[in-house]
Amino acid sequence: MSSRPILIVDDEKNIRLALSMSLEKLEIPVETAASGEEALEKLGQGEYELMLLDLRMPGLDGMEVLRRVSQQLPELKVIIITAYGSIDLAVEAMKLGAVDFLQKPFDANQVREMVRRILEKPREAHGYWDYLALAKERINEGYFDVAGVYAQKAVFLNPGRPEALNLLGGIAESQGNRREAEEYYRAALTRYPHYTAAKLNLERLARSPYNREGIVWD
């Protein structure tokens, strides 16, 4: 595993402490920053493998830090920390280059698992198919909103492929949003006109009476 340190950015002292202590077990050096400004300063001075970044901070907030970092340090992997339920922010952050996101409240094991998983591969390895797999995993667990974030990330990474769009359609349908689902399925078919899953889903969607059962995920 990499010897470069992990940077934890959170305005809450107790979170910083808890995060650094839980990551100590991975035997990776951990540094902390209490604000966006401090984080940028530290990033300018040294090299970091990974940054855990809280989106909600006074002053320079996490999103702004992320925006700057993604331009200046494209190699840095960023995991953002969002509040439970703030899915829109998570999607935006993922599009800005974050590799993953943590929802508060979380526990030590969750953090360690995620950090370990991300550190295992180089940044480039976090590609379309990885997020697609993550999305399917979350769909199977019933966490549609989390799955949606990964699928959005996948689309962002490779807009030319239909699978992630089809997943987004299925997620939208599960959340009761037919119109949005139809748009996603159509988008998937414009990428690959013979993509069976999207075709079947679209056909079922157009059928009367409408039946939400039997979404084809891939």
């Binding site: 809450e12 107790n14 808890a18 839980s22 409240p105 526990d107 019933g142 959340q175 009761g176 059962e213």
Partner: protein, 611 residues
């Protein structure tokens, strides 16, 4: 006072007497007529008969005289003598039957001339034997004129009797005419009197009855002041008196009722006007009958300007109008789902929300009298609800950061520091860990519920075997149930239809209900999961024989933060059933509780079948 019967009897009796009088008069007239004709026949006929015989006798004697003169003296004499007594006998009869003035004188002159005749005939007989020519001469000179005189006088007698007869006949004719005329006059008089009498009588009888009829009609029309004069026959007078009493009682009863009705009306009017909710009362054609100041305020109009107007004219809301109309037509309150009974008015000052209910007014005869529309202002309640939700959301958001650090700190301590602690301290840390997890679950539940309430529940519907749901849920709860030595039983027929559900969410609901049952059932108790098909739904129930739910809590058991207070044992977040309710509702089902405190509880919910 005469009775009705007497009156009728007297009335008809009078007519009868009149008829008897007329009859008597007619009989008298007929008798008189008959007597007149009879006397004519008897008296004059006898006289005429006598005269005829006298003429016959005298003519035969004359012939006998001529016979004598012709030389048959013996034969003539004999014939003459034979007829002499006949003449005298009939003369005597005529004398016995003098009925007419002047008749006696005529009979006297007949007698005198006949006696002279007899004398002359005797002279002839003395002379005749010797002196034939002298006898003939004598005959011509004295006998013949005497004979003629006698006969003529007899004829005269006959004439006079004929005349008398004729006169009598004329008199009888006159009498009969007189009888006919008098009968006609008296008869017509009797008829006129009878008719007048009948009219009078019928009026006499019918007038009180007619008065009664008129009075009854008046009462039927609601005029209870009417009184009938007590007159006429005794029975009618009594009837009228009793009728008046009845009318009086009716009037009092009516007044009492009217008083009651007015009091009731005033009462309800006062209630309607004073309540703080909007109330509009419409009749069966949706015309506004009553409206209170609050309702007028709600619709921004003056109260009195709405009375008598059609509902739609006053309140331009199609949905309310249709619901009211439907209620009037069906006679029952419209079935509204939760949340559908809200009526919103948006104005410059913001939105006002009203919860409405529609109550049809039905009389005992099942006729719809009208409908009451009740509007409760829930704007403030809604605002409070919104503020509360906002607060809960913000609070739980704010709770998450410290909770995360506490949670992680405890976890880390348990990982690394546990070895250095005493058993007691480790126990303390474990308790801390347990409660932090409960706190996390609570915060997550709160957020989930907020999302569900905001209509953001994500459901992945599938066609699912209910058996699959039961197995999943039972597997989760089994360890807990075994730890408490509870019997878990599944009662579901193998042919239950597929249901349309998000299996994860429904399993979660069943697990939640089972966990509650495990928590509230003492050791050794029984828990039963049951599935059955009811129409297009599958009913799933979880029953236990635990402590049950107190009655005062039953109606609120599905509300947030409602839970049974128990000593010691760790409870849930108080949100489980609230989330269950929301999940079931998102499946278009319902959930309810049947419970008797001390005997156990049965939670039942429905999900639609897949077909």
């Amino acid at each position: 006072m005469r009775t009705f019967r007497q009156k009728i009897f007297i009335g008809y009796g009078a007519s009868l007497v009149l008829m008897v009088l007329i009859l008597a008069w007619a009989m008298f007239m007929i008798l008189r007529l008959g007597r007149a004709s009879e006397s004519i026949l008897r008296e004059n006929y006898r006289s005429i008969q006598a005269v005829e015989h006298m003429i016959d006798a005298v003519e035969r004697q004359d012939s006998a005289v001529l016979l004598y003169l012709l030389g048959y003296q013996e034969q003539g004499l004999k014939e003459f003598r034979e007829n002499e007594p006949a003449f005298l006998q009939w003369l005597g009869r005529a004398r016995d039957n003098i009925t007419i003035t002047g008749e006696k004188e005529i009979i006297d002159s007949i007698e005198q001339s006949y006696l002279k005749y007899l004398k002359e005939v005797a002279n002839l007989h003395l002379k005749g034997a010797s002196d034939q020519p002298g006898a003939v001469n004598l005959y011509h000179e004295s006998i013949l004129p005497l004979f003629r005189s006698t006969r003529d006088t007899c004829i005269k007698l006959r004439e006079i009797n004929h005349e008398t007869m004729y006169a009598a006949s004329n008199r009888a004719g006159r009498l009969s005419l007189q009888a006919v005329l008098s009968m006609a006059v008296i008869g017509s008089l009797a008829v006129i009197i009878g008719v007048i009498f009948s009219l009078f009588l019928s009026r006499l009888i019918s007038r009180p009855v007619t008065e009664l009829k008129e009075a009854a009609l008046q009462i039927a029309e609601g005029n209870y002041e009417v009184q009938v004069p007590a007159r006429g026959a005794a029975e009618l007078a009594l009837l009228a008196e009793q009728f008046n009493q009845m009318a009086e009682k009716l009037r009092k009863y009516h007044e009492m009722n009217i008083g009651k009705i007015i009091a009731e009306k005033l009462k309800s009017e006062a209630i309607i006007q004073s309540v703080d909710d909007g109330i509009i009362v419409v009749d069966d054609s949706l015309v506004i009958n009553s409206i209170n100041p609050k309702a007028a305020l709600i619709f921004g109009v003056h109260k009195d300007s709405l009375l008598g107007k059609h509902f739609f004219e006053a309140v331009r809301d199609e949905r309310l109008f249709h619901l009211l109309k439907q209620s009037v037509e069906s006679g029952s309150a419209p079935q509204l789902k939760e949340g559908e009974d809200i009526f919103t008015i948006t104005s410059e000052g913001g939105s006002q929300h009203y919860q409405f209910s529609i109550i049809p007014m039905q009389s005992q005869a099942q006729a719809i009298q009208g409908v009451v529309l009740h509007l409760r202002d829930i704007t403030r309640l809604r605002e409070l609800d919104r503020l509360k939700s906002e607060f809960v959301l913000t609070a739980s958001h704010e709770l998450r950061t410290p909770l995360t650090s506490v949670s992680m700190a405890v976890d880390l301590l348990l990982e690394s520091a546990a070895a250095k602690l005493t058993d007691k301290e480790r126990e303390l840390l474990a308790a801390c860990h347990e409660d932090v997890h409960r706190l996390r679950a609570l915060v997550n539940d709160l957020l989930d519920l907020s999302k569900i309430e905001a209509g953001k529940l994500e459901l992945a519907f599938e066609r699912v075997q209910p058996a699959f749901l039961f197995d999943q849920a039972l597997a989760v709860v089994k360890p807990q149930a075994e730890a408490k030595n509870l019997e878990l039983k599944l009662e579901a027929p193998p042919d239950l239809p597929l249901v349309k559900a998000d299996p994860n969410k429904i399993v979660w609901v069943i697990v939640n209900l089972l966990a509650n049952a495990v928590r509230h059932t003492p050791e050794g108790g029984h828990i039963r999961v049951k599935g059955e098909r009811v129409g297009g739904q599958v009913h799933i129930s979880v029953a236990d024989d635990g402590e049950g739910v107190p009655y005062d809590l039953q109606s609120r058991i599905f509300d947030k933060f409602v839970q049974l207070k128990r000593d010691g044992a760790a409870g849930g977040s108080g949100l489980g059933l609230a989330i269950c309710k929301e999940v079931v509702r998102a499946h278009r089902g319902t959930i309810w509780l049947d419970s008797t405190p001390g005997q156990g509880s049965t939670f039942t919910f429905t999900i639609p079948t897949a077909d």
